[in-house]
């Protein structure tokens, strides 16, 4: 028997071995990118994804846990060619290792499609595709700009359609590479130059091709340039079914380059015809309008009012005559009434009676007259005698009469009042004496106070 105890060589337990391998392997591949094809894809419970990543000769187990796979923006499916980013992990219990995926990307066409979708989403959110930002294409552009390859068939197609639609147009072409690494940059430059030179509209055109061929029109750079461009842009890339980012951002998409030419310029002949038709229509509308109005006027002129205007008065004549009739009738009636009233009243008046009454009143008046006269006369006589009596009395008192009877009046020299008392004079005072036939000037010799009583003899 051989000695199988190897004292110097390390002897592992299985666990120890697996642990060791785990340490080594995990340290060696902590963050790697692996490319391969998906097979044996298992995702039935929609939790964790399990699949093999393989190439022609070999395969490796991959796991993508829920927290990673739910953020995927594309679907991993059987047969898909992808890139996985992750780390190697050893499952000790079973001595198996697997690639734990932290990220996954599609490769080849899938990658391009994904990039396309991502850029489309991003620009869509920024509003690059919003209709409100799209400018309208001028109906009749003065200068048309064209960005395309002068070597291709596209430019001939466009020129052919333009010539067909319009005899005179001004086209300015800027030659570019429509695919390849420099294409996007060249196209942006072309747009700038055409804007600088001055054009009214720009067509960007290229013929059909694969997604990679058309890739230059899917870059963020081109999207930005088209969006910012102040001149309206028509995008005509590839075939009818090809859609590129530039198609979405442009102010108008043409399914093919020929359609772009149709869009950019109206059909001259059609437009001329349209204008002529409109003018014809306007003319006919006007002439029919005039005809209608003429008819209206003629009809109006035939109406009675114009043909025989005197009939206008008919109405008034009628009214007048009616009023006349009423007037005569009413006044007649009134007169009759008044007349009747008068007759009635006359009947009440008794002529003889009235004359008699008048006579008797006259007599009364005469008598009254006589009485009045005699009364007045009596009154006058009465007054007359009264006056006589008073006049007699007055005559008695008349100072002149007093003088006539022999009395005298005494006056002071200056004063005009007669002196009636002894006290009013002084001895030696000058006085005037008024007699019946003249005046005496005298001086007082002596004065004696004594009241003279009537009926007694005076003693000096």
């Amino acid at each position: 028997m051989e000695d199988y105890s190897i004292s110097k060589t390390k002897v592992y337990t299985v666990s120890e071995l697996n642990q060791d391998i785990k340490r080594n392997v995990e340290a060696g591949y902590p963050d790697i990118w692996v490319e391969g094809e998906v097979s044996n894809f298992y995702f039935h419970d929609k939790k964790h994804m399990y699949f093999d990543l393989k190439d022609e000769n070999s395969k490796i187990k991959v796991v993508m846990f829920q927290n990673i796979n739910r953020n995927l923006i594309f679907d991993i499916e059987e047969g898909l060619h992808i890139l996985i980013n992750g780390y190697i992990s050893l499952y000790e219990k079973r001595g198996e290792y697997q690639l734990v995926a932290m990220d996954a990307r599609p490769v080849g066409k899938g990658a391009l499609i994904l990039a396309f979708e991502q850029l489309k989403k991003k620009l869509g959110e920024k509003g690059y595709f919003d209709v409100i930002n799209k400018k309208s294409i001028p109906l009749l552009p003065g200068r048309i700009g064209l960005v395309t390859s002068t070597g291709g068939a596209v430019i001939r197609d466009i020129i052919l359609v333009l010539k067909e639609r319009f005899e005179n147009f001004h086209l300015i072409v800027r030659d570019v590479n429509v695919q390849g690494i420099t294409s996007s940059d060249e196209i942006c430059e072309a747009i700038d130059e055409l804007c600088e030179y001055g054009v009214d509209v720009i067509i960007i055109a290229r013929g059909g091709g694969s997604l990679e061929d058309l890739w230059a029109f899917n870059t963020e750079k081109i999207a930005g340039k088209i969006f910012e461009c102040p001149v309206p842009i028509i995008s005509a890339i590839g075939h009818e079914t090809d859609y590129t980012i530039s198609d979405f951002v442009a102010d108008r998409r043409a399914a093919t380059p020929s359609v772009a030419a149709e869009i950019v310029i109206l059909n001259k002949r059609e437009t001329v015809e349209k204008i002529e038709t409109m003018v014809k229509r306007a003319r006919s509308l006007i002439s029919s309008e005039v005809k209608i109005r003429k008819k209206e006027i003629l009809l109006l002129m035939r109406r009675r009012i114009f043909a025989r205007p005197e009939t206008l008065l008919d109405r008034f004549n009628q009214v007048v005559s009616e009023l006349n009739i009423r007037l005569e009738r009413d006044i007649g009636a009134n007169l009759k009434t008044v007349e009747n009233n008068l007759i009635n009243i006359c009947r009440l008046i008794d002529k003889k009676n009235i004359i008699d009454k008048i006579y008797s009143f006259k007599t009364v008046i005469k008598n009254s007259d006589i009485r009045l006269i005699s009364t007045v006369n009596n009154y006058i006589n009465l007054k007359k005698s009264k006056i006589k009596y008073i006049m007699g009395k007055i005559a008695d008192r008349n100072p002149v009469n007093i003088l006539e009877r022999g009395f005298a009046l005494l006056y002071g020299v200056e004063k005009d009042r007669s002196i009636k008392s002894v006290r009013e004079v002084n001895v030696d005072q000058a006085v005037r004496i008024l007699l019946r036939d003249g005046v005496l000037s005298a001086r007082i010799f002596d004065k004696i106070y004594k009241k003279i009583e009537p009926g007694f003899k005076n003693e000096n």
Binding site: L140, L171, V173, R174, I275, A282
Partner: protein, 79 residues
Amino acid sequence: MKIEEMSFEESIKKLEEIVRELEDENISLEDSMKKFELGIKLSSNCLNKLNEAENRIEELTRSEDGKLIARELNLEKEN
């Protein structure tokens, strides 16, 4: 705005508008005569503008001193 200053689009739009207005029965005779005259002017403006553009096909390039120049495009040579 003077008619000559109107763009082709504006002229054609206004012309269509005028035809519509003339079709309206309520328009007065004076108005329709005025609009008709305007319409004739507009149509001749449009037809003039249609004939305005020069007939040219050019290629744009930048010269060495940085200027942009447009030269007649000859397609046969490009082959």
